[in-house]
C-alpha cells in the first residue's frame, strides 16, 4: 500500500450478534486490496454524530483483517454521549461508505513470547480474538481469561470457538477471576496482554509488578494519544488567536493559520520546530527537550506537545 493515510471503506456486512454487540465488515470502497494489519491493530473511523458539527473519530480494534472478509470490527453500544457507537448501532447500513485511518498497531504480539496469557474484560475481547487466530496459526501456547456479563457468556464462547486442549476460561464477573493466582502460575517467558476497563488493566499491571514480572512482558491495549483537549493558541506579537482542535497538532493549527513554523521530522525528535513560550502550562510529548528545558516551560515542540489547560501564549 502506498502512502495513503485515509481509507474509504464500504460496509459489506453488519449484524447484531447480541443486543449490545454489532459485528461490521468493511471492504475498500473501490474494491482494492486493503492494507494488511497485524493482530492487535486498530483503525480510526470518522462517524457522523448528531449534535456535533465535525464527525467523531473513534478507534476500533480489528477482530480480523483478511482478503476474504476485509476488516471486521465488533462494536459495543456504549454511553449515548459518545455518539460514534450509537451511529454504528442505529444508522449504519450495508453499502454505507466511511472514512478510516490506515491500521495502526500499538498492541502487537511479541515475536519471541514463549507463552501468551490474555486477560480480557467485556468488549476488550476484540483484540484477543485477533490474537487467538494469530497464535493458533503460529503454534504459540496461550491461555485466555475473559471476564464478561453472564448475558454475554454464550456469545463470547462462540466467538472464541475454543478448540480441544486450549486453555480458555470464561468468567461471569470479576469474582471468579484471581489475577494473583493466574499470573503466579505462569512459566518464565510468558507475556501477558490485558484489554478492557482501565481498572482491570491497572490491576493486572500492578499484580504482575508485585510478582516480579519484567515490565517488558506486560502489555495493555493502547490506541495512542495523538490528540487531546482543544485549546486556544495566542500569538504573542500580534495577539492573533488560533484554535487547536482535539485531533490536530499545534503545528498543524499554526500552518492552517498561515504561520510557517518550520519543521522536519514532525515527530518530536529533531528539534527543528521548537517555539518559545510566553505563558501557559505545557504537556511535553517530545523526545528532544532536556529535563531542564521542560521544567523551564519556555520552549515547546508544537509537532507533538500540547497545552495543559485551555490556552497557551507563544513568544512569536
Amino acid at each position: 500500500m502506498r502512502d495513503q493515510p485515509v481509507l474509504s471503506l464500504r460496509v459489506a456486512a453488519a449484524e447484531a450478534i447480541a443486543p449490545t454487540l454489532r459485528r461490521v465488515s468493511l471492504r475498500a470502497a473501490d474494491g482494492a486490496r486493503l492494507p494488511p494489519a497485524a493482530a492487535g491493530a486498530h483503525i480510526t473511523l470518522s462517524l457522523p454524530a448528531s449534535g456535533h458539527a465535525r464527525p467523531l473519530k473513534n478507534a476500533y480494534t480489528l477482530v480480523s483483517a483478511d482478503l476474504e472478509h476485509g476488516y471486521t470490527l465488533i462494536v459495543r453500544r456504549t454511553d449515548p454521549t459518545r455518539g460514534g457507537s450509537q451511529h454504528i448501532h442505529e444508522a449504519l447500513a450495508v453499502g454505507d461508505v466511511l472514512e478510516a485511518s490506515v491500521p495502526h498497531n500499538l498492541f502487537a504480539l511479541h515475536s519471541q513470547a514463549k507463552k501468551v496469557l490474555m486477560i480480557g474484560g467485556g468488549i476488550g475481547i476484540t483484540p484477543l480474538l485477533a490474537f487467538i487466530a494469530a497464535l493458533r496459526a503460529r503454534g504459540t501456547r496461550f491461555e485466555l481469561h475473559q471476564i464478561c456479563n453472564s448475558a454475554d457468556l454464550r456469545v463470547f464462547a462462540a466467538l472464541i470457538g475454543a478448540q480441544p486442549g486450549e486453555a480458555v476460561h470464561l468468567h461471569a464477573g470479576r469474582s471468579t477471576f484471581d489475577a494473583a493466582v493466574v499470573l503466579g502460575a505462569q512459566p518464565l517467558g510468558t507475556h501477558v496482554y490485558s484489554c478492557g476497563p482501565a481498572a482491570l488493566m491497572d490491576a493486572i499491571a500492578a499484580q504482575a509488578a508485585a510478582l516480579g514480572w519484567p515490565a517488558s512482558h506486560v502489555h495493555r491495549e493502547d490506541f495512542g494519544a495523538a490528540g487531546g483537549e482543544p485549546f486556544t493558541l495566542t500569538i504573542g506579537t500580534s495577539g492573533a488567536r488560533i484554535t487547536v482542535a482535539a485531533d490536530q497538532t499545534m503545528l498543524e493549527a499554526l500552518e492552517a493559520a498561515g504561520i510557517d513554523a518550520g519543521s522536519l521530522c514532525r515527530g518530536g525528535a529533531c528539534g527543528v520546530c521548537a517555539l518559545p513560550v510566553r505563558a501557559g502550562e505545557l504537556e511535553h510529548r517530545d523526545h528532544y527537550l532536556s529535563a531542564d528545558e521542560r521544567q523551564s516551560g519556555a520552549v515547546v515542540m508544537p509537532c507533538v506537545s500540547r497545552a495543559r489547560g485551555d490556552s497557551l501564549v507563544l513568544d512569536i
Binding site: D3, A37, P103, N105, S216, L264
Partner: protein
C-alpha cells in the same frame, strides 16, 4: 517517465560508471552546509511533484539494471549477504507487497502487478522478469519473498522487529553497504548495531532516532538522507570483502587526505559514488508482525 537505463555499468574492475547530467540534477541534495555531523535528519517522506529522487516511494534511476546485476553478483559469491530470521516471514511478504505495489504505481511503464486474490503476476520489464506466484506460498518464487523483491530494488534493506522497547535487526540484504556487516549485526538491537558509530551516542542521536522510528506509522513513510564517499564507485564496500577494496592503491587511510583540499577537486567524482540510503523505512510493526 521513461528511464534510459545503462545496463553496461560496472561497480568493480573497470568501474564503467557515470551519471548523466540529468541524473546529477535529480540528485536529492545540494549540500547546504560546509561541514557535517551526525544529526537527526529524518523527515516525513513527502512526495515531490517536480520529479527527482523524492517523487517515488522507492526511487529507480538510470543505474537500476546495473545495480541489480551487481547485487546478483555479490549474492552469488556470498549468499550470506541476505539473511532473515524465521519469525520474520510475514515481514518478508509485507516487503514484497509494499515494493511491488509501489514500483507498479510509481513506474507503470516499467513494472506491472496483476492480482486475482492471492494469485499474483509480477512483470519487471527492465530486468525481463515475468513471474506468476501465489502470495504467501514461498515455494512459488525462485527465492524467499524478501530476497526475490530486494534483488529488484536499489539500495540495501533491513527488516526490524519492534519489541522490548527497541528495534531488532532480524533480517536484511546488504550488498552496497558502507562497511557494516549483516552477518555481524543480525539479531542486534538498534543501539547495539549502531555501537561503533563515533560521537553520535553522546549527542543522544540514537535515542531520539529510535523513538522516532518506533512511531513511524504505516501509510506515513519517513526518509533520511545519508551519504558516504568512496574513491571509486564501488558499491560493495563490505567488511567481508575488505581485502578486495580496503587495501588497494586507492585507499585513503585518513590523515591529510581527509582535508577538504584533498577532496575539493574530486567532488564530481565523489558525487556519483555517494550512496543514497533508500530510506523508505518500513513500518516496524506492520512490516514485522502483520497477520
Amino acid at each position: 517517465m521513461t528511464i534510459a537505463f545503462k545496463p553496461d555499468e560496472t561497480f568493480r574492475g573497470d568501474f564503467r560508471y557515470a551519471n548523466s547530467p540529468a541524473a546529477i540534477l535529480r540528485f536529492p541534495f545540494p549540500f547546504d552546509q560546509d561541514s557535517y555531523m551526525y544529526g537527526i535528519n529524518m523527515e516525513p517522506h513527502t512526495r515531490s511533484t517536480m520529479g527527482g529522487a523524492f517523487a517515488a516511494a522507492f526511487d529507480v534511476d538510470e543505474h537500476y539494471v546495473a545495480e541489480c546485476a551487481e547485487r546478483a553478483a555479490v549474492l552469488a559469491a556470498d549468499p550470506g549477504r541476505c539473511q532473515v530470521l524465521p519469525h520474520m516471514v510475514e515481514a518478508e511478504w509485507d516487503t514484497l507487497e509494499l515494493i511491488m505495489e509501489s514500483l507498479s504505481a510509481d513506474y507503470p511503464e516499467h513494472f506491472t502487478l496483476e492480482r486475482e486474490g492471492d494469485d499474483w503476476i509480477w512483470t519487471n520489464r527492465p530486468l525481463s522478469l515475468h513471474q506468476r506466484f501465489r502470495f504467501g506460498d514461498p515455494s512459488s518464487l525462485p527465492q524467499s519473498p524478501f530476497e526475490y523483491i530486494a534483488r529488484q530494488a536499489q539500495g540495501d534493506f533491513t527488516l526490524q522487529d519492534q519489541r522490548d522497547g527497541t528495534l531488532y535487526m532480524d533480517g536484511g540484504i546488504a550488498t552496497t553497504q558502507a562497511d557494516w556487516s549483516l552477518s555481524f549485526d543480525l539479531g542486534m538491537t538498534f543501539h547495539e548495531w549502531h555501537g561503533p558509530v563515533p560521537l553520535a551516542h553522546q549527542k543522544g542521536v540514537f535515542d531520539r532516532a529510535l523513538s522516532y522510528l518506533m512511531r513511524v506509522r504505516y501509510g506515513h513513510p519517513a526518509r533520511r538522507l545519508n551519504w558516504t564517499m568512496t574513491v571509486h564507485p564501488r558499491l560493495d564496500t563490505s567488511p567481508e570483502n575488505y581485502p578486495v577494496w580496503g587495501a588497494g592503491p586507492h585507499h585513503f587511510d585518513g590523515g591529510q587526505h581527509r582535508r577538504d583540499a584533498a577532496f575539493a577537486g574530486r567532488i564530481a567524482d565523489i558525487l556519483p559514488a555517494a550512496a543514497l540510503e533508500r530510506a523508505a523505512v518500513l513500518h516496524p510493526r506492520l512490516s514485522c508482525q502483520h497477520r
